[in-house]
C-alpha cells in the first residue's frame, strides 16, 4: 500500500521548502513537538545552520546577529516561548531589522494543560504590543501561504513578523485523556 502525504501531514515540508526559497541560512529554535518534522528537515540540510537555544529570547538576538552578517534567519518556537522574547523584541524594532518567527500554538484550541493557557491566550496580543506583524494559520492549507507572507514582510519591510500555527492544525496534546 502506498501512502501519499495529505496536506495535514505535509505542511512542515512546505515550510521547509519556503525556508529554502527565501534562502534562509540560520534557524534558531527551542523545540516544540509541532515543529519536530521541520526541525529534522533543517538538521539534515548542510546549508542551514541550526542553533538550539536555552531560551527563546536568545533567538531574537541570534537572528539579529545573522542579519548583521548578511544571513537570513528564522526563529522557531512554541507560543509559551513568545513570552520569553518580549524585551528582546526592542532589538529588531529599534534597529529596523527582519525577525521572522514561526510559532506553534499551545493553550489555543482544546488545550489540556492549564499552564499553557495564559501565554497561549496572550501570544498574539503580546507580539503585537511589541510591534510584530502577526498572521494566524488555522488550517493546514493556510500554513504555507501565511509563512510565506511572514517571511516576505520581515525581509521586505525590516521588522519582526510572526505566523502563529493554530492548535487545530497541530492537534492538542491529550496526555492520554
Amino acid at each position: 500500500m502506498t501512502t501519499v502525504p495529505d496536506a495535514a501531514e505535509d505542511w512542515p515540508d512546505q515550510i521547509y521548502d519556503l525556508l529554502k526559497q527565501h534562502e534562509i541560512r540560520q534557524v534558531a529554535l527551542v523545540p516544540d513537538a509541532g515543529h519536530s518534522r521541520l526541525i529534522k528537515r533543517c538538521l539534515a540540510d548542510n546549508d542551514i545552520k541550526v542553533t538550539t537555544l536555552t531560551t527563546e529570547e536568545e533567538g531574537i538576538a541570534l537572528v539579529f546577529g545573522a542579519w548583521l552578517g548578511g544571513e537570513k534567519a528564522v526563529l522557531l518556537m512554541q507560543s509559551s516561548g513568545v513570552g520569553n522574547c518580549i524585551n528582546m523584541l526592542s532589538v529588531p524594532v529599534s534597529h529596523r531589522t527582519p525577525c521572522p518567527m514561526i510559532v506553534t500554538m499551545r493553550g489555543d484550541y482544546g488545550e489540556f494543560n492549564p499552564f499553557q493557557v495564559p501565554m497561549g491566550n496572550a501570544t498574539q496580543t503580546v507580539l503585537e504590543a511589541m510591534g510584530t506583524l502577526v498572521k494566524r494559520a488555522e488550517t493546514p492549507e493556510d500554513v504555507a501561504p501565511t509563512v510565506d507572507a511572514t517571511l516576505r514582510m520581515a525581509f521586505n519591510t525590516y521588522r519582526p513578523t510572526a505566523t502563529l500555527i493554530g492548535q487545530r492544525v497541530i492537534g492538542a496534546k491529550t496526555f492520554g485523556k
Binding site: 542553533t51 546577529g65 552578517g69 548578511g70 529599534s94 529596523r96
Partner: protein, 201 residues
C-alpha cells in the same frame, strides 16, 4: 598601554583600547551600558555595534554574526551584569564552537548604569568557570596587563571560541556616546561587511 588603577585592577578603557588596536577586519559588539561607551571611546567605526538595549543578548548576537561571517573575527565586549542576564547563551555558544568568536566580559562586579548595585560576581560567581564548564575550553580570568596581552594574541589567532572574564576597576568614567539611532548602527555595519549590496538584500 594597559593601565592599572589604584585598586590594583585593570582600567577598563585601556583594556578595550588594547583589544581593539590594529583590529583589521574585526567586528565588535559592545554590550548595553559602559562597554558600549568603552568601544566608542576606543574609536567609533562602522565595524562597531554598540548596544543601547537588548540586555542579555550581546553574546548570542555575536554568535549569529560569527556564524554568518566565519572568516571575520567577532569580538563581543560586555559587562558582568549583561552577561549574567544571558548566561545560558554560554551553553548555546559552546554547542556551535565558532572559531572566530570571542566574548570578553569587563567585570567590575557592579551594575554601573543603575547606581553601582553589586552583581553576582561580587559574591564570587565565577563566570569564566561557568563558560569552561559549558564547553568553551579557552575560558580565562584576566587580572594583569600581561594576561590581557596574552588574551589579545589569542583572540587574533582565531582559535576560538574564547571567553574571558577581565577583572576591571569599578570607577564610572565620562560617557562617550555612540549614535543612538539604531537603524544607522546596523546599516553601517552591514555596509562595512557586505558593501553597497547590503541595502539591496
Amino acid at each position: 598601554m594597559i593601565e592599572v588603577a589604584e585598586s590594583g585592577k585593570l582600567e577598563r578603557r585601556s583594556v578595550v583600547r588594547a583589544l581593539l588596536e590594529d583590529r583589521g577586519e574585526m567586528l565588535a559588539i559592545g554590550g548595553l551600558g559602559a562597554p558600549a561607551w568603552d568601544i566608542t571611546a576606543a574609536g567609533d567605526t562602522p565595524q562597531n555595534l554598540p548596544l543601547w538595549g537588548g540586555m542579555g543578548g550581546a553574546a548570542v548576537m555575536g554568535l549569529g554574526l560569527a556564524l554568518a561571517q566565519p572568516t571575520k573575527p567577532v569580538l563581543v565586549i560586555t559587562g558582568d551584569g549583561e552577561m549574567l542576564m544571558g548566561v545560558g547563551s554560554l551553553a548555546t555558544i559552546a554547542t556551535k564552537q565558532p572559531r572566530n568568536l570571542s566574548v570578553v566580559v569587563l567585570d567590575n562586579e557592579h551594575y554601573g548604569e543603575t547606581g553601582m548595585q553589586e552583581t553576582a560576581t561580587r559574591h564570587g560567581v565565577d563566570l569564566a568557570g561557568m563558560a569552561k564548564a559549558a564547553g568553551i575550553v579557552d575560558s580565562r580570568k584576566v587580572t594583569t596587563p600581561a594576561e590581557l596581552l596574552a588574551l589579545r594574541d589569542a583572540i587574533r589567532a582565531g582559535h576560538g571560541p574564547i571567553f574571558a572574564q577581565v577583572k576591571i576597576d569599578a570607577a564610572s568614567l565620562p560617557l562617550v556616546l555612540p549614535p543612538r539611532e539604531a537603524s544607522i548602527l546596523q546599516a553601517r555595519m552591514r555596509e562595512a561587511i557586505l558593501g553597497p549590496k547590503a541595502h539591496l538584500q
